[in-house]
Every structure is written in structure tokens, then in C-alpha cells.
């Protein structure tokens, strides 16, 4: 591997990792507040892919992008209020099962509405512009993804650490009853968490599919699982952890493929999951997992 191809792969890996990080944040935030692994998150990401296909068929990209974000957020909120909100007082296992059911429902809905055949993902021309720096060539999306990821994460951290709603999110993630005593509306805070997670999944989806060309109803499954592993690796509940996990998995996957182990690259993710769960179940930045009282 020459130095330029090495740099090329690093760029590709960081870019893929950025998209993973944006999706992993959705898993980690929902887990932080509901102790729920939102299996449907991967399928919301997939649906965002279809939304973009339809939006771009009748609008310019700069209108299509905000429209897709808004529609994806609406879908995320709908999933929350239909599948999770009615189970707020139920045992955690019931909500998990509801999440798995919601995931299959969205996949089957996509098959029913759009068929299982791959649909071409639209080209967002400015994102596809390519650069040549030395021997390394890259398209704008490759450079933009990690930069946008970092900017969005910094904004999100600011929101969580310095605003009133962010303070409420941190409080609710620790203690529902005491949060209620403060006058916080728990459901509103949970909805807000889903809004952020779904918006980031929509952005992640645009960045991810722009490099992939097509969407199928199953397009969410593998990236979803990888992003879940990224969240666990970073320490589920921790946003910086999810970002580190996303970049780590994106870069490792890219290099495994580059080195000729592409058949092994998905297995690697799951091997990683098993290793973390055995040796460090709290992940890199996670705190000890405590049962909510």
C-alpha cells in the first residue's frame, strides 16, 4: 500500500465513520434516556434514504434536504408515540420487543410501498464534486462528512451542557420521578431526544447513501447494527463515545476491505461487540450501567 492509497483509505474511512457516528448518536441518546435499544432507528435511517429519492424527484437538493430531515423527524416521533410511549410503565423487555416489531414493520412497509428492488439514490451534484490533492482524489462528500459530523456533535454537546432542555435531558436520564417533581414533562423531553436522533439519522443517511448509489428496504440493517456496536464500543449513553465508536468502526471497516478482507469486515464488527461485552461492557467512555429506580 503506497502512502497516497493509505491517505485515500483514511479519508474514506473517516467519511464512513462520520456517517456511522451520526447514526450511533441516535442509539446512544435514546438508550441514555429510555434504557431502550431503538432497533427501529436503522429503519428510520433507511426510510430517510427513500424520502430523499422522492424529494429529489421534484425539488432541488437544497430544498429536498430540509424536507427529508423534517419528514424523518416526523417518522421518528411517530414511532416513539405509537410503539414506545404507550409502554412507558411496562417492563423494559416489552419495549424492546415493540422496537424489534417496529423495525420489521418499517422494513415490510418499505417492501410494500417501494418493492424490494434497489432504487437509485439521487446524485446531489455539489456533494459529488471531486478534488485532487497530490495523488489523492476525493469527492466533497468525503471531506464534508467528518467535518459536518464534528460540527453537529459540538453543537449537540453545547445544547446538552448549556441549555435548559439539555439540563432536563440529563436529569430525566437519571431519575424520572424527581424530574417530574421539578416540573419537567418527561414525554416532551423524550420526544425531543427522538427529534435530535432522527434528524441526525436523516443527515447521516444523506451522507451515507450519496456514496452508495442505491437504497433497498434492507439497507438499514447492517449499518444500523454497526452503529449500535459503535455506540456500545464508545459506552452506550455517551455521545462522545458514540462518535469515537463510529469513527473507529468506519476506519477499521475501510481498511479491512482495502486489505482484501472484505468478507471478514462485517464479522469484525460483531467480533468487536462480543469482545467489548466480555471485557469492557461499559465501553470506552461509559459509566457503570445502573438500573433505573
Amino acid at each position: 500500500m503506497t502512502f497516497t492509497t493509505f491517505i485515500q483509505h483514511v479519508l474514506t474511512g473517516i467519511s464512513l465513520g462520520g456517517a456511522y457516528a451520526l447514526i450511533a448518536i441516535g442509539y446512544t441518546m435514546v438508550y441514555g434516556i429510555l434504557l431502550l435499544i431503538n432497533f427501529a432507528h436503522a429503519d428510520i435511517f433507511m426510510m430517510a434514504g427513500y424520502f430523499m429519492i422522492f424529494a429529489m424527484s421534484s425539488m432541488p437538493w437544497f430544498i429536498a434536504i430540509p424536507v427529508v430531515i423534517v419528514v424523518t423527524v416526523a417518522l421518528g416521533l411517530a414511532v416513539e408515540s405509537v410503539a414506545y410511549k404507550p409502554l412507558r410503565m411496562s417492563p423494559r423487555m416489552s419495549i424492546m420487543i415493540s422496537a424489534i416489531g417496529m423495525s420489521y414493520l418499517l422494513q415490510n412497509l418499505a417492501i410494500y410501498l417501494f418493492s424490494a428492488l434497489p432504487r437509485a439514490y439521487p446524485v446531489i451534484t455539489p456533494l459529488k464534486q471531486s478534488f485532487q490533492i497530490g495523488g489523492v482524489s476525493a469527492s466533497l462528500v468525503t471531506i464534508l462528512t467528518p467535518v459536518l459530523t464534528i460540527v453537529l456533535v459540538l453543537l449537540l454537546m453545547f445544547l446538552i451542557n448549556n441549555t435548559k432542555i439539555g439540563m432536563a435531558m440529563r436529569a430525566v436520564s437519571k431519575d424520572y420521578d424527581t424530574s417530574k417533581l421539578m416540573g419537567i414533562k418527561i414525554n416532551r423531553v423524550i420526544s425531543f431526544t427522538f427529534i435530535i436522533g432522527s434528524a441526525l439519522a436523516a443527515i447521516g443517511s444523506i451522507l451515507y447513501f450519496t456514496d452508495r448509489m442505491s437504497v433497498t428496504p434492507f439497507s438499514g440493517i447492517l449499518p444500523g447494527l454497526k452503529c449500535f456496536v459503535a455506540a456500545v464500543l464508545g459506552g452506550i449513553g455517551s455521545i462522545p463515545g458514540a462518535v469515537i465508536g463510529g469513527f473507529f468502526i468506519g476506519i477499521s471497516e475501510t481498511f479491512l476491505v482495502a486489505l482484501g478482507y472484505s468478507t471478514f469486515s462485517d464479522a469484525f464488527t460483531f467480533l468487536l461487540l462480543i469482545v467489548i461485552l466480555i471485557f469492557r461492557p461499559t465501553g470506552l467512555l461509559g459509566e457503570a450501567i445502573t438500573e433505573k429506580v
Partner: protein
Amino acid sequence: MSLLEINGLKVNYGGIEALKGIDFHVDEGEIVTLIGANGAGKSTTLKSISGLVRASGGEIRYDGEKISGLDPQKIVARGISLVPEGRRVFPNLTVLENLRIGAYLNKDADAVEQEIERVYKLFPRLEERHWQQAGTLSGGEQQMLAVGRGLMAHPKILMMDEPSLGLAPLIVKDIFKKILEINQSGVTVLLIEQNANAALKIAHRGYVMVTGNITLTGSGTDLLNDASVREAYLGTKTNG
């Protein structure tokens, strides 16, 4: 008319009847204490006043209006704060954030700053520690913070669930002094204690709870001198 009136309040947890229809009232300006053994239903009483637990019978009236059945945020907005059992400060928030979140419903930033100043004046220790994560405070400091956070909502009634639990005697003495100070500043206090002795000494009136019922009531001094109370809750045998 009393500020807070509880009439025939019943609460069920599954099949267990934790409150079997209790009546009591709290007048404006008073310190009223509920004493009783572990499991008597004291915490359940405060939780149902706060709206965390739904009553299965009876009603709770505040300022002449029925408040039973309202959501917790409506109840705190009307001026009833609860300092929960076991303090329950938010460990991942700083001391100052814990205070601010106590005034979550208050949209007037200047008023919130004034409340913070008032709490700092009452508990100077909290000002010294304002930047610290609440989870790293000592038990006594966490209790001060929990009380301060309860005051941030500018309540008319401050309900406290066992504020002395697990604290060193010297700190307990200090906490009870602060409760008196809070009351003298015009806040009505409804206090739950296992430390019946200390509670009855500062209370105007008290109620004794036994397994979901109120069995005895009287002024703080009367209850302190009552033979059955002394025997059951103060650990002192009386002769005759």
C-alpha cells in the same frame, strides 16, 4: 379553611392498600409532622400529594381547590414542593444546575437568580460548591442541596421526606435549625421523620401513622409527652 386538606385518602399498590383512608390538614404557616414506623405509608402520602402516585380514593385540596389527579408539574407550579426521601439530587448535574432545575417552570431569569441568592444565604456551603457535580457531595451537603432545590420553586408548602436519614447527629441538628428558619421565612412545612423526637420538638402539630392509618394527632409537645408515642417512636419507656 386549611391550606392543605387531605380527606379519606386511599392509595393502592397493586393489591396492597398502603393508605387506608387518612384525614389530616396543614394550616398556613405551620410545621406539621407525620411520624410512624417504616412502611406506615408516610412517603406514599407525600407522593400522592405531589401527584407521583395516584389516589384510589378520597381527595386532596389545596387553597380550596381539588388537586388530586393533577400531574406533578401542575402541583409544583401551584406551590407544593417535595424534597424526596433519599435526597435524589441529580448526581450528573452541578450544584448550581440542581438549583436551577428546581426552578424549571420559572421563566423569569431575574427571579431565578434571586431564588438562588436566597438559597445561598440559607446554605452558604452550596455557594462554595456551586460548580461541583452533586454526586460528589457529602450526604449532608446533598441534603442541603435537595432542600435548596425544593425551595427554588418558591413553594408555599415545602414537604420533606426524612431529611435527617443517614446523617451524623451534628448535621441533623443543623438541618432541623434550617427547617425552622425556612418556616419562619413564611413557608409552610410538612415534615416526615423517623427521628420523631427532633421532628416533634420543632412541629406545631403532628400525626402518628400506623400501617396506612392515622392513629393519633396532637400538638408537638402533646405527642412528645404521650406515653404510647414515647414507647413506640422515641425509644423511652415511661413508668405507670
